[in-house]
Each structure stands twice: as structure tokens, then as C-alpha cells.
């Protein structure tokens, strides 16, 4: 028999499926954190490959900031419906009321930092012992050091100095009461890998990933932010209509659009091959605050 050769996407896929099955095998109450973004959409496809013809051994959990793009929420509901899997939605709005948190201020109020509170609430409510997420190590330098099975204390905190060594493809999910594990099955994928996989698997995405006309405000940095009711605009803000798409789909108040008329996944891959600005840098306003921005938020329980 000839020796089969596997494409790197085959290897990344096999690794991710293996990780998802380890979660199913090792934990009693796992959850898949679903944001509606392309990375978590890819996770649902991988979960189908891991567990069909059975049901997913975990619900999809969405932390809704209230600032999400409507197209993404619609996509989320349709996807959960077509998969026939359970979807749990918890709103940051409710956490703000319950915990009397202060709404973020400023012109572009981001509820990203508040998501952590809602996430910890939902983990407590359902006693989730493992939360699967679509984070990738290539997104940011602090993530590059995080394990695939990342143990968090009861406050969701990540301690980079207390990480367990992760050997071969043996994943240790044993935890003590109060702790939980964040699991990142596509840790080793890059943005380009995710897009090539979306293309290969013919995965449908929310429309906002593709080029479309949108009214945007031009930020002082030159970045474009789609207009929404949550922004607090001034008279002299420059409003333009541009052909744009989104590279990441987070909170609409802190996810910038990039100018593009890419209409297909193939166009996007070409865009990326030419792109000179990394995904987070192009689109996330919240990581620019300090160079250690992500490390700080992860220590505080952020995904």
C-alpha cells in the first residue's frame, strides 16, 4: 500500500478533532463558546466531524454584548437550528444590571471587558468544567504561550507561570473544584489556515465577512468603524460610505472594517496573501491600549 501524504490542513483538522474528543472524554459539563465569528464557526464544523452521527456532547454558549452585528445574531440562530444543537445565550446587559457594573464610556464604548463578567456568570450557572474557544496562537504574543488545555482558577484567571507542561498530544484536563479549563482546538492554525479551511469545506459565513457597502466613521487612526446606534458621534466626525468587509467579528463598537471588495472566500485569501497588517492590528481597537493588553485581560479571566 502506498504511503498517503497528508496536507497540512488535514493534520491541523485531525489535531483539532482529537482535542475536541479529549474534551468530550475528560469533562462532565463542557461548553463550546460560540461568538458567531469565523473561528467559532470552524469549531462547529470540526465538532460535526468529531461527534456525528451523535449529538455534540456540549451546548453552544454565546455571550451577547448587545453590540453585536445583527447579521451575526441571525446567522448564530440559523446555525444552531440547522445543527439541531442546544444554544445558550447570556447577555452582558443583564450582568450589568445584576452586578451594577458601570457601562463603558467614551466615544466608542466597548463592552468587550464586560464580557468576562458574563462569561464567569454563565460558567457558574451551568457549572461548566471546560469551555472550548476558537482562539489561535498566531493572534497575539501572549496567546502564543498559552496551552491548548489552559487551566483557570475560579476567577477565570490565567497564570502564565503556573501552566502545565503539554507533552506530545496528551492533554491533561484534571482540575480541582472551582477550577475550569479553557480549551483551544485551533491553537496551531493561522488566520490564513482558517480561511483555507473555510474554502475547502465550503463553510457558509455571515455576510459581513465579505465586501459590502457600509456607512462608517473614520477614526483618528484612519481605521473605519461601521456606524451603529452605540457610537457617540460628534458633529465633526467624518462619515463615509465605503466598500468594506470585517476580518474579525467582535463587538461592533471596537471591531473596525477594512476596505475590500472581496466577494468570495478565494478573494479574501488573495487579500490576505497581500495583506500587510495582522488581523488584530487591523481591526481590534482594544489591544492597542497597551502592548501587554491581551496578557492583562487574560490574567483577569478573559478568553
Amino acid at each position: 500500500m502506498s504511503t498517503p501524504s497528508f496536507d497540512y490542513l488535514d493534520r491541523l483538522e485531525a489535531e483539532a478533532i482529537h482535542i475536541l474528543r479529549e474534551v468530550a472524554g475528560q469533562f462532565e459539563r463542557p461548553a463550546l463558546l460560540f461568538s458567531g465569528g469565523k473561528d467559532s464557526i470552524v469549531l462547529t464544523r470540526l465538532a460535526e466531524k468529531a461527534f456525528r452521527p451523535g449529538r455534540f456532547p456540549f451546548p453552544l454558549v454565546h455571550v451577547d454584548t448587545g453590540h453585536n452585528f445583527p447579521e451575526v445574531l441571525q446567522y448564530r440562530d440559523q446555525l444552531a437550528e440547522s445543527l439541531g444543537e442546544k444554544l445558550i445565550v447570556r447577555k452582558v446587559e443583564d450582568t450589568i444590571k445584576r452586578q451594577r457594573l458601570r457601562e463603558p464610556g467614551g466615544k466608542y464604548p466597548s463592552r468587550n471587558p464586560l464580557q468576562t463578567y458574563t462569561l464567569l456568570e454563565v460558567i457558574e450557572e451551568f457549572e461548566f468544567d471546560a469551555c472550548i474557544g476558537g482562539a489561535r496562537r498566531d493572534e497575539e504574543k501572549a496567546r502564543a504561550k498559552e496551552r491548548i488545555f489552559s487551566v483557570r482558577d475560579e476567577f477565570g484567571q490565567w497564570d502564565p507561570k503556573r501552566q502545565r507542561p503539554e507533552l506530545w498530544n496528551v492533554y491533561n484536563g484534571r482540575i480541582q473544584k472551582g477550577e475550569n479549563v479553557r480549551v483551544f482546538p485551533i491553537s496551531n492554525w493561522t488566520e490564513l489556515d482558517v480561511w483555507r479551511y473555510i474554502q475547502r469545506e465550503n463553510i457558509a459565513l455571515p455576510d459581513i465577512y465579505f465586501g459590502h457597502e457600509r456607512r462608517c466613521v473614520v477614526l483618528p487612526t484612519g481605521q473605519l468603524l461601521g456606524l451603529s446606534e452605540h457610537l457617540r458621534l460628534d458633529e465633526d466626525d467624518e462619515i463615509v460610505t465605503r466598500q468594506v468587509r470585517f476580518r474579525t467579528v467582535g463587538d461592533s463598537t471596537c471591531t473596525a472594517a477594512v476596505e475590500s471588495d472581496a466577494a468570495t472566500v478565494e478573494d479574501i485569501i488573495q487579500d490576505l496573501l497581500l495583506a500587510k497588517v495582522s488581523e488584530r492590528g487591523a481591526t481590534r481597537l482594544d489591544d492597542n491600549i497597551s502592548e501587554a493588553g491581551m496578557e492583562d485581560r487574560k490574567r483577569n479571566g478573559y478568553f
Binding site: 500500500m1 504511503t3 498517503p4 501524504s5 497528508f6 496536507d7 497540512y8 493534520r11 491541523l12 483538522e13 485531525a14 489535531e15 478533532i17 482529537h18 474528543r21 479529549e22 468530550a24 472524554g25 466531524k49 468529531a50 461527534f51 456525528r52 452521527p53 451523535g54 449529538r55 456532547p57 496562537r137 498566531d138 504574543k141 501572549a142 502564543a144 504561550k145 487551566v151 502564565p160 507561570k161 501552566q163 502545565r164 507542561p165 503539554e166 507533552l167 506530545w168 498530544n169 496528551v170 491533561n172 484534571r174 480541582q176 491553537s187 496551531n188 493561522t190 490564513l192 489556515d193 495583506a275 500587510k276 497588517v277 495582522s278 492590528g281 487591523a282 502592548e291 501587554a292 496578557e295
Partner: protein, 428 residues
């Protein structure tokens, strides 16, 4: 396009982070905003400090050292690469072992001014112990020795003596300067006497991972039982093929029970296929209704290992709390989790010489050979035969922490190096 995973090993000032930074930078894998962040912090002489591309955590920036394993990615038209960057300090053997466990190739970095030093030996021996078969000796900082061929030749000869002495794979030696980019991605005109490939050219051409030559090994991770009206009796065993190939109709045995059956179907993404091979994630269905659960192995009848409750293993001890003989722990052999005890520490391995020395305990970063007894039989191979089925971790039952990496050396008592210790009682 395939995938190559490699580890970089070097001492504190060998310029390892700079080398990785250079690979990313010259292969155009660094984006503008990341560069801009670097330039904000650049040295007064205007050059970009490429090491900052990998030194991710704040503590590392403050101390100027790499304290933990980091992963970096880049792609050329020929390959996708996953770089594991493990720190080189004496106290971080455990990081080196962790990084090497997943690597196909090791780049051993030396400073041309210093040549082969004690840490070079340690890095090489650990990488070899962990089963790496491809080595690159990267002689860095050639700019600081005037690009002198004789300096390079002497270091390459010293290193060849080392690999010969321990019967290790032959290394490819490459003279380079990570700081200036000589021979990292592009061949340098400053090293005209060197006729071999640049580092990247070499990385693009070495053979990648190959798991198919070994006998079939598969462990059940999860049992799929839909129990729906359409599929009332479906039982699928989900797992990843660790090595070898599986074919529909193969006679197989389930270990450790020893029950025999036949592969009725192999499913990949819900499609039935005739054959599948490592590293594919599959679902196996068996002809007979035998009892199979998570942690069980399904292996070809003709090439099945003998399950064992006693084995000899090399451990890299990774906990600050030392290991004493008699300690009870959990063995996690991939998806199999069993209680175990270590009745005896046979000897300690000196990671600079591979010499054996008597030891009554194992401290953090020690490499020791032990006898291990498990409460239930495990289907293992030796690590030399099979990197997947010959590896395991040890877990502290109370804290849940991973305390050791384990490599099976012998699973058959005939091959044990010393007489068996006293019996161990289990309570489960």
C-alpha cells in the same frame, strides 16, 4: 503542502529569539503593525530587535529572557512551519522536553565564539532522547568571528564527535548570522566558502512527519452512541489513528481485554472509507458487540502489543516536589488513565554525558529511569518503536498537575535492567 514542526534550542545569549525573528522577518511573515510596535521599542541605533517578536510575556520583556515554551507559525510556498521556542536555561529542561516532544527536527544553536558547550550537549541529548531524528547545527554569530571558515569547521567537527560518540543522527551544520540575516533565509555572499543550503532551504527540504511505517495503533477517545430512532444500535469508536493504517475487514483485538473482532466500517467525517491511516481522526465500528470504552486500544491482531502492568520508563521530572520511590500517581497514556506506583528509581541520567548514576529521588528537571507498576494493564510499545504509543504523562492525583513526561523503555520484564522491586498494593 505539508507541515514541519521544529524546535530551536540554545543557551541564553546564543541569539535564538533573534534567529526565529529573522526567519519570520525574512520570510515576510511579520505584518506592518507588529513591526510598528517593535519599532516603538527599538534600540537607539535604529535597528529592530527581532527577538521581541517571540519574547511575548511581560515578565520576559522585563528580564530579557524567554521563560516558557512559545509557538510561532510561518508558511512558505513549500511548507507550513510550527516553531517551538523553548528556553535554554539550566533550570528549564522541562520546557525543552515539552517542546521536543512534538518536534520533527531540532535546530541546535551555538555561538561561533564559544563553540560546543555543555548546554549544547544537553540540548542535543534531550532532543535525541525525545525521538528527534533530524538535527541542524546552526553556528550563529559568524559575523563576530570574521566569517572564518576554520572556526565553523572546528565547531562542526566537535559536534560530529559528540553525535558519533552517542550514536546520534548526523546533523546538518550551517554557518549563519541571525542578526544580519546571513544564510538564514538567503544565502550570504559573506560566506562564499559555504556551499550548502541556507537554513530555510534546508527546513523546506527535510522529510516531514511519517507515522505510517509503524504497526496500527488506535485508542478510543469517545464512544458515539446516538440512540435515535434511525440509529438505535449504532456504536462508533471515535479516536485518532496514532500510527500505521487500518482497513475495513481487518482482524483486530481490543486491549487490554483481548477480545477479538473485525473492523466493520471506518468512517471519516461520516463517510465510510476503505482505509485510513495516521494521523487521521476516524470512527471505527466493529463487527461484534464487544465491550469497548474510552482508553481501550483497537489494534491489528497480528501486530498487537502485550498489555502490561509493569514497565520500565525514562521520566523527565517536572515538579518542584521531588519524586521518591513508592510514590503513587496517575498514568495518562493518551486517553487511558490508570493508577500507578513507582516502586524503584533505577538510576539518574546525566544529561551532559548520558552517564548513569545512582539516585534515591528525582528532582525538578532530572531525567531518571524508573520501574512503574499500573493498576490496570496498558497497551504500550517502547518509545523507540513508537513515539505515540510509547509516551505517557504522570499526573499528581491531588493537584491534577502534570509532574512528569514518560518514555516507555521496556514493557516486557525480560528486558528489564534490574531485578523487580517489592510488590505494590493498589486500592481503587
Amino acid at each position: 503542502m505539508d507541515l514541519l514542526r521544529f524546535i530551536t534550542c540554545g543557551s541564553v545569549d546564543d541569539g535564538k529569539s533573534t534567529l526565529i525573528g529573522r526567519l519570520l522577518y525574512d520570510s515576510e511573515s511579520v505584518s506592518l503593525d507588529v513591526l510598528a510596535a517593535l519599532e516603538k521599542r527599538q534600540a537607539s541605533n535604529g535597528t529592530v530587535d527581532l527577538a521581541l517578536l517571540t519574547d511575548g510575556l511581560r515578565a520576559e520583556r522585563e528580564q530579557g529572557i524567554t521563560i516558557d515554551v512559545a509557538y510561532k507559525y510561518f508558511t512558505t510556498p513549500r511548507r507550513k512551519f510550527i516553531i517551538t521556542d523553548a528556553p535554554g536555561h539550566v533550570q528549564y529542561t522541562r520546557n525543552m522536553v515539552t517542546g521536543a516532544s512534538n518536534a520533527d527536527l531540532a535546530i541546535v544553536l551555538v555561538d561561533a565564539r564559544q563553540g560546543v558547550i555543555e548546554q549544547t550537549r544537553r540540548h542535543t541529548l534531550i532532543a535525541a532522547l525525545l525521538g528527534i531524528r533530524h538535527f541542524v547545527l546552526a553556528v550563529n554569530k559568524m559575523d563576530l568571528v570574521g566569517y572564518d571558515e576554520a572556526v565553523f569547521a572546528r565547531i562542526a567537527t566537535d559536534y560530529a564527535e559528540l553525535t558519533n560518540h552517542f550514536n546520534l543522527p548526523v546533523a546538518t551544520a550551517i554557518p549563519l548570522s541571525a542578526l544580519n540575516g546571513d544564510n538564514v533565509v538567503k544565502k550570504s555572499v559573506l560566506l562564499p566558502w559555504y556551499t550548502g543550503p541556507s537554513l530555510l532551504e534546508h527546513l523546506e527540504s527535510v522529510p516531514g512527519a511519517s507515522e505510517t511505517a509503524a504497526p496500527g495503533r488506535f485508542q478510543v477517545q469517545y464512544v458515539i452512541r446516538p440512540q435515535t430512532a434511525e440509529l438505535p444500535d449504532y456504536r462508533g469508536y471515535a479516536g485518532q489513528i496514532q500510527s500505521g493504517q487500518y482497513r475495513r475487514g481487518d482482524r483486530v483485538t481490543v486491549l487490554p481485554s483481548g477480545l477479538q473482532s473485525e473492523i466493520e466500517a471506518i468512517e471519516v467525517n461520516q463517510q465510510e472509507v476503505e482505509t485510513a491511516s495516521a494521523p487521521q481522526a476516524v470512527v471505527l465500528r466493529l463487527r461484534d458487540d464487544v465491550d469497548v470504552s474510552r482508553g481501550d486500544s483497537i489494534v491489528p491482531l497480528a501486530e498487537a502489543p502485550t498489555p502490561t502492568r509493569e514497565l520500565e520508563a525514562t521520566l523527565c521530572w517536572m515538579s518542584e516536589h521531588p519524586l521518591w520511590p513508592g510514590r503513587k500517581l496517575l498514568v495518562q497514556h493518551h486517553s487511558a488513565l490508570v493508577k500507578a506506583a513507582i516502586p524503584a528509581i533505577l538510576y539518574k541520567v546525566n544529561v551532559h554525558t548520558f552517564a548513569r548514576a545512582a539516585a534515591d529521588s528525582a528532582q525538578l528537571n532530572d531525567i531518571v529511569r524508573v520501574r512503574l507498576k499500573t493498576a490496570l494493564p496498558l497497551a504500550v510499545d517502547t518509545y523507540l518503536e513508537n513515539r505515540a504509543s510509547g509516551s505517557f504523562i504522570l499526573v499528581d492525583e491531588l493537584t491534577g498537575d502534570t509532574v512528569a513526561a514518560g518514555l516507555v523503555e521496556a514493557a516486557n520484564s525480560e528486558y528489564f535492567t534490574l531485578p523487580v522491586g517489592p510488590p505494590v498494593a493498589f486500592s481503587i
